[in-house]
């Protein structure tokens, strides 16, 4: 979870991602941010996110991203 928060913080250091939800809904994360997240997650956590899982609900909060990463890591 810490790594996810680190990555998000590097993208937008003015947002408190530990409490913020609606990252996609409110337009906090743009298309470039999503691509960056996917690449960083692959590099730092060695988890590949397949196209089917690149969905708004999986990126709407730090918690949702962490849940996705855990789920894919266990699979």
């Amino acid at each position: 979870m810490e790594t996810i928060l680190d990555i998000l913080h590097e993208l937008h250091d003015d947002v408190d991602f530990s409490v913020e939800s609606g990252l996609v809904g409110q337009g906090i994360l743009n298309s470039l941010d999503i691509v960056t997240l996917i690449t960083e997650i692959s590099d730092r956590l060695d988890v590949q996110i397949p196209a089917e899982e690149i969905l708004p609900e999986n990126f709407d909060s730090a918690e949702a991203i962490w849940a996705l990463v855990q789920r894919l890591d266990e699979a």
């Binding site: 996609v24 337009g27 298309s31 470039l32 999503i34 691509v35 690449t39 196209a51 089917e52």
Partner: protein, 507 residues
């Protein structure tokens, strides 16, 4: 006689009044409601004494924004769209260039409009779209306006980012837009059954590709929610659900889908026509699209805003050699390309020259900026007999053996290192030809006279450098090769070269 773009709408509304014209996927406007709203807004603006002047439209990207554009044209004015996401400083520069007296906003942007008034950036009147829309259309008033309009009157001003950071407003008239619409439709082959999915913001000239054929033929355009361009599978599902058969998108929107496996996960098989342009399509990604949609027709489009939308097309009607760049092809009908050498001659086959445009497509120039206009809109150097303006794009091109025009690079992207001429695009193409590289952007750090290559892909920088050594002469090898998760984009979705150049100069 076709002299006004509103004639397209006026003909179509009699043929398919109840057909959906523009939609955001939820609500939408039929041709009749679009026509009604535009005439109401036009009449309302006329009644308040506006005419032959800019009408600033500050609205969210929505079918009603398009109705507001047509409303401004009905009033004999021209529209200038601004976006809520524009930085306030850019808005202020645009407003100071225009000195507009009137602005139309929607409810959501009311506060922003008032903030512009309070900051002094705007000193005219603000009207809300809904209020203007409720007023009755006045046939006789609109008829008087129409009698005074000619096809050389502007219908919009679109602001491009000037290289100096001061935006330049390109003004285009009815005649240029009609010429573009007719030529584009003929070249690509749109019709009443065409269903477009618009990707670009409405404050550029890019959406004319969808808006104009839609009102000409009675086609339908969906304004795809911006958020979907981050999510390949939901985006493709949206296209399929709405039966979209035609997209005219910037390259990065297409590669967003193809580079993460989206074409396998949810192939957008509904598409029969795929137009792309505005920047170079990395060959690997282009090949993925071709393979995923073998029946679809693909078109590379090329053109500057200053020559009204797009000017050239290549119909992807043959296989390309592995390292061959995708040509920009042929000019649209009634547009002539002059490829001019530095000493002002027509370039021969294979010879390099600046791409210049001649024809009705050449726009009126930069609004309130005679100096910049005079630099780019110049007398045809091959004609000394009578006044004839051409537009100099600042792009370099050449003709290949087949007579197709090939884009080389921006004139200012061609640099000299140790006396050797280097084209940044060639370095990028070499990188993109390596397996695992999805995108690349090469910039020149002038202070240290070195090339910096940014890339996106599954390869480490050392391996990429080694691979480039096999493909490029020594003087073209980047001094620094840096991986990025993704290339930064401008609001239009093109690679933000300026941001990367600044980044490279700070390293």
């Amino acid at each position: 006689m076709l002299t006004n773009i509103l004639q397209y709408l006026e003909k179509t509304v009699t043929e398919v009044p109840d057909k959906l014209a523009f939609s955001d996927g939820e609500g939408g406007l039929t041709f009749l409601s679009l026509y009604g709203a535009a005439r109401s807004v036009g009449s309302a603006l006329c009644r308040r004494g506006y005419g032959r002047e800019p009408v600033v439209i500050l609205m969210d990207r929505h079918p009603e924004e398009i109705a507001a554009f047509f409303g401004a044209i009905y009033a004999g004015c021209f529209y200038v769209a601004m976006d809520a996401a524009m930085p306030p400083a850019r808005m202020a520069l645009i407003l100071s260039c225009l000195s507009p007296r009137v602005m139309v906003c929607d409810g959501k942007n009311r506060e922003r409009a008032e903030a512009l008034c309070q900051s002094g950036a705007f000193s005219g009147a603000v009207y809300q779209y809904d209020d203007l829309c409720r007023e009755a259309a006045d046939d006789s008033l609109l008829a008087v306006v129409r009698r005074g309009q000619i096809d050389q009157d502007p219908i919009y001003v679109v602001f491009t980012s000037g290289s100096t950071g001061v935006p330049k407003g390109v003004a285009a008239c009815h005649r240029s837009v009609i010429d573009y619409t007719e030529a584009l439709c003929e070249a690509i082959g749109f019709g009443r059954d065409t269903v477009f999915a618009n990707q670009t913001p409405l404050y550029f000239d890019a959406p004319l590709k969808e808006i104009m054929p839609t009102i000409k033929y009675g086609a339908t355009t969906y304004l795809v929610p911006r958020m979907l361009f981050s999510f390949p599978v939901p985006l493709c599902r949206y296209l399929i659900r709405h039966g979209v058969n035609t997209v005219c998108w910037v390259v990065s929107a297409l590669t967003m889908i193809s580079s993460c496996g989206g074409l396998d996960a949810m192939p957008p098989t509904c598409l029969t026509t795929v137009c792309f342009g505005s920047e170079v399509f990395p060959r690997r990604q282009y090949d993925l699209w071709r393979a995923a949609l073998p029946e679809a027709r693909f078109f590379n489009l090329y053109g500057p805003t200053e020559a009204t939308g797009m000017s050239c097309y290549w119909p992807a009607d043959r296989e390309l050699d592995p390292e061959e760049p995708i040509p920009v092809g042929y000019p649209f009908r009634n547009t002539d390309i002059l490829l001019l050498t530095e000493d002002g001659r027509r370039a021969g086959v294979g010879e390099e020259g600046e791409i210049c445009m001649r024809g009705t497509c050449v726009t009126l120039g930069y609004y309130n900026n005679p100096q910049r206009t005079a630099e780019a809109f110049v007398q045809n150097p091959l004609n000394t007999a009578y006044p004839e303006l051409i537009y100099r794009t600042g792009d370099l091109g050449r003709y290949n053996d087949r007579g197709e025009l090939v884009f080389i690079c921006r004139r200012d992207a061609q640099i000299k290192i140790l006396g050797h001429r280097v084209e940044l695009g060639e370095v990028e193409a070499a990188a993109c030809a390596c397996a695992g590289i999805r995108a690349a952007c090469c910039v020149y750090d002038q202070g240290r006279t070195r090339l910096v290559l940014y890339f996106v892909g599954d390869m480490n920088p050392a391996d990429l450098t080694a691979a480039l050594r096999d493909r490029l002469p020594r003087y073209m090898l980047p001094a620094l090769v840096l991986p990025l998760p993704a290339l930064p984009l401008t609001p239009n979705g093109k690679t933000d070269r300026r941001a990367l150049k600044e980044q490279a100069e700070k390293l």
